[in-house]
């Protein structure tokens, strides 16, 4: 009994800290979404039920925002995973100057997302962007491509930059995991006559599966909550063609100063991610991989 009490008191500070820094803001945010807390309304804050949710769901642009969010998350995660995986496989084999090379490859991860967004918005500018300039000089195009102002290219452009930004994270995680795969497994497979792809699909991927699952889960959550690049590049435009849920949330605060409505957007994001996480974990835990 004494031991139990001791454990309880030892864990209590951690528990209280988590309660204070995670649960309190979350609950406070959810409660805020049911109020009318906006800049024009500081004197008359009251409980308004689901009004904020009704308003955001009746926004004629909302369906488009959800669809943009899906495209943003799915394409970003997919290409970051594939390219990060390839990069990790290449980096796994030792070669001269690997450390310096790794530094160059991983550097985008060290820069702020917003700064990346702003830099790329200039690089992709239709009139004086470096990318257009290079394409014109090599004779690939005659006139500047409007990467960010053409709605059919804008989403592609922001996803491209996000993929560029996120590859290093997947590469780091996968590379770390690849280094834990015992060489004896590959040796045994080689004796059995297994080729590169057989080893990849029957040893490497099953072995690092927990890392892959966790990294995909984490990145999906982060990317959905990651407005920095889009905000720096397009602010969600033109005409809402790159507006995702988290950008909409920021626009609600910046333009409308409506903190409760922004909180309602936040609740929608958290709810979607909550459902996604449960479904994803259920689905992935059912699959059995055997070596």
């Amino acid at each position: 009994m004494k031991k139990r009490k001791f454990i309880f008191f030892m864990l209590l500070p951690t528990f209280l800290l988590i309660l204070f820094i995670i649960f309190y803001p979350t609950i406070s945010g959810v409660l805020l979404s049911f109020k009318n807390y906006s800049l024009f309304n500081f004197k008359n804050i009251e409980w308004i039920g689901f009004d904020n949710f009704k308003e955001i769901f009746s926004d004629p642009f909302y369906g488009n925002i959800i669809w943009n969010t899906v495209k943003w998350v799915v394409f970003s995660v997919f290409f970051q995973l594939i390219l990060g995986f390839i990069l990790a496989l290449l980096m796994k084999e030792p070669f001269k100057g690997r450390g310096i090379y790794a530094g160059f490859v991983f550097y985008p991860w060290a820069i702020s997302g917003f700064a990346i967004g702003l830099s790329w918005s200039w690089l992709l500018n239709g009139q004086f962007g470096v990318i257009n300039d290079i394409l014109m000089k090599i004779g690939f195009i005659n006139e500047g491509i409007n990467f960010l102002s053409d709605p059919s290219l804008a989403m592609f452009s922001v996803i491209l930059v996000n993929v560029w930004y996120g590859i290093p994270f997947f590469a780091i995680m996968i590379l770390a995991s690849l280094q834990t795969v015992p060489d004896s497994l590959y040796d045994a497979a080689e004796i059995d006559g297994a080729g590169y792809f057989t080893k990849l699909f029957h040893i490497t991927i099953p072995y690092i599966k927990p890392t892959l699952i966790n990294t995909i889960l984490l990145r999906t959550i982060w990317i959905m909550n990651f407005p920095d690049i889009i905000y720096g590049m397009t602010r969600g435009g033109p005409a809402g063609s790159t507006e995702i849920l988290s950008v909409k949330m920021i626009n609600t605060v910046f333009y409308e100063s409506d903190y409760s409505k922004a909180a309602a957007h936040g609740v929608v994001i958290v709810s979607i991610l909550f459902i996604y996480t449960i479904m994803y974990l259920r689905l992935t835990s059912k699959q059995e991989f055997s070596l």
Binding site: F40, K43, F61, N125, G126, F128, G144, A239, F254, Y255
Partner: protein, 420 residues
């Protein structure tokens, strides 16, 4: 060890004994920039030298998030004594009830009669009370590059909207990356859209830009269709397509590089252009007149206010009064680029009657054609409107929404917001 402790105690004691009481005022600025913040700090240094015992601590949040920071700091009563307020967030801050009514301070200020007409009235946006003293005025003018216009055979700047369209169209050679007009697509393009649209009207309400003098919403008027169609043509025929996604930075870049030699902008742009272009390489002209031979600019303003909970209100006013005095206001406006708020500044400093200021001088002198009006800034949907107008306008420019449907949406928005 003991010796060190004794010496430290003596030092601390003498420091307390001989140190003067220093009052620190906290000032937050909304429009921090590498060009403006150093000027503000210079002014503060002069004030501190003239007022020993007073220190001013400047808080300079990044421009993009400054309004949010100010709003949150004031709403939670963070220690602030002087706060910079723009016309677009004044009503929201005043509605909180946390801004001091400056009427009595302004009434006793001996330079108040020197203020240019209409500025103080414009600043009484919320319940007709001056919650701030403007330190700069913003009115859009036409910036142009005489060197480029000349190259294309134009001896002067365009004086009417149709003339501006023709000039811009003749300047446009997309193959050479040369365009006529510097278009604003994102980041509060409101004033730009509305100036063009209302140039087709001759009866705009001086108290509300979105109403006619007979009280009708302008977006339901057939002239609005003409105005918006003209705006779309201006974009399609004379501006880089990429400019649908341009804010201030891109606009300035295109103007400086000569890609787009015609630009509607506020006077604060002069600060940067003076640094980036040679004297005479750019000039300003009045906004071209509309088909109605009238144009309806708005008075934008920025000023200083005092939070009601400040413990040093009189001292804060002393600083505000100092910044607004003729000498300091002239220095401030010249290096920052806003229009001075005092008439005497325009006469004692020839800079304000130079080519650079020709556009504003002419507009202020011609009240028949240049009729100043106001936005419904006290309407709580104002913030929402900026995002909505930007998005729907972009849809029209991209051909995803018709001009008529767009105007209907705008009219419905303001009807719902209750401006009528």
């Amino acid at each position: 060890m003991k010796k060190i402790a004794i010496i430290t105690c003596i030092l601390l004691f003498s420091l307390l004994l001989f140190s003067e009481d220093v009052i620190t005022l906290n000032l937050i600025e909304a429009f921090s920039s590498p060009y403006r913040t150093p000027t503000l700090k210079n002014i503060i240094q002069i004030f501190e030298t003239l007022n020993p015992g007073v220190k001013i601590n400047v808080i300079s949040p990044p421009y993009e998030t400054a309004y949010q920071k100010i709003n949150l700091m004031i709403s939670t009563e963070q220690p602030l004594d002087i706060v910079e307020i723009g016309d677009w967030n004044l009503s929201a801050l005043a509605a909180m009830g946390k801004l001091e009514d400056l009427s009595s301070y302004i009434d006793s200020w001996h330079e108040k009669d020197d203020m240019i007409e209409g500025v103080l009235e414009a600043a009484k946006t919320y319940q007709d009370i001056p919650y701030l003293l403007p330190h700069g005025v913003f009115v859009k003018a036409l910036f142009y590059r005489p060197d480029i216009l000349e190259k294309y055979g134009f001896k002067s700047y365009p004086k009417t909207m149709p003339e501006m369209y023709d000039t811009a169209k003749k300047l446009t050679e997309s193959g050479k990356n040369q365009y006529g007009f510097d278009f604003r697509g994102k980041g509060y393009p409101t004033a730009f859209i509305d100036i063009v649209l209302t140039s087709f009207f001759d009866d705009i309400d001086p108290n509300n830009m979105y109403l006619t003098t007979s009280g009708e919403i302008i977006f339901e008027d057939p002239r609005a269709i003409e105005g918006l169609n003209f705006y779309v043509s201006l974009y399609k025929d004379t501006a880089p397509k990429d400019s649908i996604n341009w804010g201030w930075d891109e606009q300035i870049n295109a103007f400086v590089s000569g890609i787009t030699p015609l630009l509607f902008q506020d006077p604060d742009t002069t600060g940067m252009l003076n640094e980036m272009l040679e004297p005479g390489q750019y000039k300003t002209a009045p906004i071209p007149l509309g088909v109605s031979e009238k144009i309806y600019p708005t008075f934008g303003f920025v000023g200083w206010g005092i939070p009601t909970y400040s413990e040093h209100k009189d001292l804060a006013w002393k600083f505000i009064k100092f910044v607004s005095s003729a000498e300091i206001n002239g220095y401030w406006s010249k290096s920052y680029g806003a229009l001075p708020i005092l008439k005497s500044v325009y006469t004692y400093d020839s800079y304000f009657s130079s080519d650079i200021f020709e556009g504003w001088t002419k507009m202020f002198e011609d009240s028949e054609h240049y009729q100043f009006t106001q936005y419904p800034l006290d309407n709580e949907n104002w913030g929402k409107w900026n995002e909505f107008q930007e998005k729907t306008m972009q849809q029209v420019l991209l051909g995803k929404l018709s001009v008529e449907s767009c105007l209907k949406e705008w009219a419905d928005f303001w009807k719902k917001a209750g401006i009528k």
